[in-house]
Symmetry: C2
Subunit: 122 residues, 2 copies
């Protein structure tokens, strides 16, 4: 087993790699720290999720809302110190919301090779 | 006078263009909205600045702390909807702090062609 701690760049690359394969929930399971926090914008009805269990539940809930995915992408990350950022796009039918086209900036914090925070700007 | 409202990409390009010329304060004067907000990380001793006057004062104060700038850069922005993000680096002697090497993710919100928020991750 390779126990070398991943750098921020390596964590960013791995997250994007898994998300591009459609393995978003698997990426969270693998890369998120136990104390991870997830913050939406202040105008969002979704409250912050605190802790890996809550953040994974949030991810699963969101995945369950997607009825049809027309397109989407995870762009290449930019990296600085313990943080990285990328653009995420989604064009999908969501349960109860109809078709949405989203385009957002995602920022992730990393500590000891694990993601400790995610925050979304849209 | 060209009164066409700039897109998020255009605002991002203009901010980076001016910052790369060393015109950081000028960029704030030109591009920041009257109600702009500026947020540092929770661990920072610097409180949030609310309103253009307060944000410009914060920028001026920071500029006054730089005694010697060894290097620094503003990387190309990534853009999504009303937000953009870029990596900013600084290697400088700061008054009372000695030499610091900073590497941060900056996220900016745009509305009606003006920057309404800035937030830093480091």
């Amino acid at each position: 087993m390779n126990t070398k701690t991943m750098s921020t760049q390596e964590v960013a690359n791995r997250l994007v790699e898994l998300c591009r394969k459609g393995q978003v929930l698997e990426s969270q399971q693998e890369l998120f720290a136990e104390n991870v926090t997830s913050h939406e914008p202040a105008h969002s009805p979704t409250p912050a999720a605190i802790g890996k269990e809550a953040v994974l539940a949030k991810g699963k809930h969101f995945a369950s809302l997607i009825e049809k995915r027309y397109s989407g992408s995870f762009e290449d990350p930019i990296v600085a110190g313990n943080y990285f950022s990328f653009v995420c796009k989604l064009d999908a039918d969501l349960k109860g919301m109809g078709r949405v086209v989203w385009d957002e900036i995602c920022v992730f914090g990393v500590k000891d090779g694990k993601i400790t925070s995610e925050q979304f700007f849209y």
